[in-house]
Amino acid sequence: MQTVVQKAETKTKPKRKANTKWIEMKKMKTLYIMLAIPMVMLFIFHYIPMYGILIAFKNFSPGLGIWDSPWNNFDHFKRLFDDFLFLRALQNTVVISLLKLIIVFPAPIIFAILLNEVKNEKFKKVSQSISYLPHFMSWVILSAMVIEVFSPQRGIINFFITLVGGDPINFMSDKASFIPILILTDMWKEVGWGAIIYLASIASIDPQLYEAAEMDGAGRFHKMIHVTLPSIMPMVIILFILRLGSVLNAGFDQILNLYNPLVYEVADIIDTYVYRSGLEQFQFDYATAVGLFKNVVGIILILSANAIIRRKSEHGIW
């Protein structure tokens, strides 16, 4: 008898719950209508292209369309690992990205700690404002400037080289100098912008920590290393892990605007290879397969990165 009653209860309960939910939803009708508009846009321009990924598994012919093009038994993916150009691009991507990680990533941290030591507030503000000006320029614009700085005809760098008796170097088409240029210009563009978040983090440090350190006789460097740096360390770790998660993004915008065939050997990355093989040579299906490979590896990396952050610090990136 008792069990019957219990069963009856469990039967009606979810129904009543669903009902109240339905009433709630009706009350919020306007909210759903608002939400529907961007969702439809996102569906069209973001989810429908995901269906286009199918051509990575097909011999795509534009005449037949995505659905009717014949399947090809993973031929593109088999080709991937025999394709010298792809393997070169994969290697370049990882090399450039890791070099940027090692050299460019710490720069904003150092920048922020040193700027924090400047006492004149006005000077501090102006320096900071100047430092992130390049962040607001596109790589199309910046590459025009970079090419002039390194120009063998009128560039300032080659001027100094000839001053000390050297011959002008055509930096932009030199395999040895191209990667250092990528790293330096990336740092030049982003160091100030990257420092903002660290400066904010430094500003929120409890002044008592500094006072306590002073009481213990800590000097300025001591405070920088033992108070400032540890205080921003959680932020550093989060950003570092996130950056690791996007290690396959070596800087498409930058490289596509700066490279040329003479330096493909060291500068061609997966993204630029996808662009050229897809949109310049029109191998839509193969280029999509290359892009998909990158996307899948990328999402695994970024999700693992976020999982690690969540475990370590209890707040993920969303």
Partner: protein
């Protein structure tokens, strides 16, 4: 504070000098472009630190404006930036407001619908095929529609909306207002800082965006400034020599290099950003702070 903090040490001098040098390093390429744009072939064919033009001539600018479609590209860029920014801001608000309501049934499902798009996309080829199939190739709509929903902006604005005191809204509901009225009459007016930030980011994005324009637009009449600059770069790559003269300039009758003309185009293109930069940069920073809050 006290005497120890006011003392100027060697470290202070080195530190400040370092930042002065760094600022020069940041600004030099910009200044060099200005000088180049006001010079002619004679003045820009030798190695050196070009801090001042031999004489200020505007031939390169005259050349840019008389030749090619720079005016057209300028208008296209402005139209694109205004329309694209309005679209992004509208869609950001429309998505962020409902998603900021914890009591919205199935809110998590909708949030995930947006988040997936942030991490996974079809890639450039499927995107291109979609735009092609929709018949949007060579249409200005291809420059503003695919980027109209920006998940990152939505999260920032949602986080901001979630910090707004619930009490204000509840009393409005009791007075019989619906959600749309609450949004337009209460939420939007008190969210001006975050809306300004998103609008500025969106405007900078559209002003600088060149990849969609490169891939989707072939028609010169619909091109944008960034592509005009980029075409000059690639033209230069082909000859592998930026010292090719592009012909006599204007009034002074001096020879111009492609570099002079390109520098002028660059200055024309970045002009609006540089001019508003000092006044709006604090909003950009504010945006980063809001963005780093957790929702």
């Amino acid at each position: 504070m006290g005497a120890t903090r006011k003392k100027i040490s060697l470290f202070d001098i080195l530190n400040v000098t370092g930042f002065v040098l760094f600022s020069i390093l940041v600004l030099y390429p910009f200044w060099q472009t200005i000088v180049l744009s006001f010079s002619d072939a004679n003045a820009s064919s030798s190695l050196g630190v070009h801090l001042w033009p031999d004489r200020w001539i505007t031939d390169a600018y005259e050349f840019v404006f008389s030749y090619g479609n720079i005016m057209k590209a300028y208008i296209n860029t402005i139209v694109r930036t205004v329309a694209g920014t309005i679209l992004i801001v509208t869609f950001t608000i429309l998505a962020a407001y409902p998603l900021s309501k914890k009591e919205l049934p199935y809110r998590n499902f909708f949030t995930i619908f947006f988040l997936i798009a942030m991490f996974f996309s079809g890639g450039i080829i499927p995107d291109y095929l979609l735009v092609k199939n929709l018949g949007l190739l060579d249409s200005s709509l291809s420059l503003i529609l695919p980027s109209a929903v920006n998940v990152f902006f939505i999260i920032i604005m949602r986080n901001y909306f979630m910090t707004i005191d619930k009490g204000i809204e509840e009393s409005a509901i009791i007075d019989g207002a619906n959600y749309f009225q609450i949004l337009t009459k209460i939420i939007i007016p008190i969210s001006k800082p975050v809306i300004a930030t998103v609008a500025l980011w969106a405007a900078v994005y559209h002003w600088n965006e060149w990849f969609h324009a490169l891939v989707y637009i072939q028609d010169d009449a619909k091109t944008v400034l960034q592509i005009v600059v980029r075409d000059m770069l690639t033209a230069m790559d082909l000859s592998n020599n930026s010292s090719t003269a592009v012909g006599g300039g204007g009034m002074s009758g001096s020879e111009l290099l492609l570099s002079n003309v390109r520098a002028a185009t660059v200055i024309i293109s970045i002009g609006p950003i540089v001019l508003v930069y000092p006044f709006v940069q604090k909003y950009f920073i504010k945006g980063i702070m809001i963005g780093s809050l957790k929702g």
